[in-house]
């Protein structure tokens, strides 16, 4: 399953010895960091401007992205969503930029390797339990016992298996989509190199966006489930 090819990142001397998905992931993260820094500097320079600029400047673009992410989080999680904007937004930007870098020839996307996607999904898994314990204390374990007390011996294994299936499904979904898409694009280029790969690239654009969106939505659903209070 090793997809060894030429990557632009293998030209950088420091990152050549790392596995290809790690070096590409670092490269894309550095790009996102630089974009974030430029946005931050421009926001500080602008001060308290309420009226946005007329043209599409970098500041407008950055504000568009941040506002979209913030709206998504608060729409799905209610008024307490602001605490989770940082984690969910960071994950979404990381996954989005890595997915899109798959479309550029010469990059191997970090999310097309199991390690990266499982790192993201394990982060979400650990943070759901952290938020749950921070919110409810030790009574967080009561969620595993189900609605009625005498159902607990049946409910606990079911709930534990369900909880363990979450990071596996999150990571596998993202990995499978990205890896399969990369393979299909490579095969399409090898098969009929002229116009036919365009369909593979259009599919790649769509899949990149949709998979990021689905990952974000599921993470928010898990967070909301962890901090939810029982209402009768």
């Amino acid at each position: 399953m090793e997809h060894e090819g030429f990557t632009w990142v293998s030209l950088i001397p420091f990152l050549k010895n790392l596995p290809p998905h790690v070096s590409n992931g670092i490269f894309v993260s550095v790009i996102v960091l630089i974009a974030a820094l430029i946005g931050y500097v421009q926001l500080k320079k602008a001060g308290d401007d309420i009226v946005p600029a007329g043209k599409l400047t970098f500041r407008n673009f950055a504000e568009l992205i941040v506002e979209t992410l913030s709206n998504l989080v608060t729409t799905n999680m209610g008024p307490r969503g602001k605490e989770f904007t940082l984690l969910v937004g960071t994950l979404a930007l990381f996954i989005l930029f890595n997915n899109i870098s798959a479309l550029v020839p010469g990059f191997m996307p970090a999310t097309s390797n199991v390690n990266t996607t499982f790192a993201c999904s394990l982060t979400v898994f650990v943070m759901t339990h952290y938020y749950g314990v921070r919110e409810h204390g030790i009574k967080y374990l009561k969620q595993f016992m189900g609605p009625l007390v005498w159902l607990a011996p049946i409910m606990i294994p079911i709930e534990v298996i369900g909880h363990l299936a979450r990071p596996v499904s999150l990571g596998l979904r993202l990995f499978g989509n990205m890896f399969g898409d990369h393979m299909v694009t490579a095969m399409a280029i090898g098969f009929v190199p002229f116009i036919f790969p365009l369909t593979a690239w259009v599919l790649g654009c769509l899949v990149a966006l949709v998979q990021t969106f689905v990952f974000m939505l599921l993470s928010m659903a898990y967070f909301a489930g962890a901090i939810s209070h029982e209402e009768h």
Partner: protein, 110 residues
């Protein structure tokens, strides 16, 4: 506290990078399988994905048909119908993707 967490995070990154370099340096060779096992593995890789794609296609087709009917009845709600439809399609597609991953693993063992 913040400093401790920063030092811990940098240490973790350093260890991970060292582990990555060590892993990339030494790769273990894999042993080959029996010929009859390879035949069944090839058959399983192809047929399994075919069955998964059939089930996924039926499921997504039904979901898409319901969404399109909803949009046809009420064209103004197309934005609100489109978002859950995309989520549902991605959920159903993920089951097909699980089968695809198993097929990749089997092809790797051929």
């Amino acid at each position: 506290m913040k400093r401790f967490l920063t030092v811990l995070m940098l240490l973790g990154i350093f260890l991970a990078v060292m582990y990555g370099i060590a892993c990339a340096a030494g790769e273990a060779p894999a042993a080959g399988l029996d010929s009859s096992v390879k035949q069944m593995a090839a058959l399983a890789a192809g047929l399994g994905l075919g069955i998964a794609a059939a089930g996924g296609g039926i499921g997504q087709g039904r979901g898409l048909a319901a969404a399109l009917e909803g949009i046809a009845r009420n064209p103004g709600a197309s934005g609100k119908v489109l978002t859950p439809m995309l989520i549902g399609l991605a959920m159903i597609e993920s089951l097909v993707i699980y089968s695809l991953v198993i097929s990749f693993i089997l092809i790797g063992k051929l």
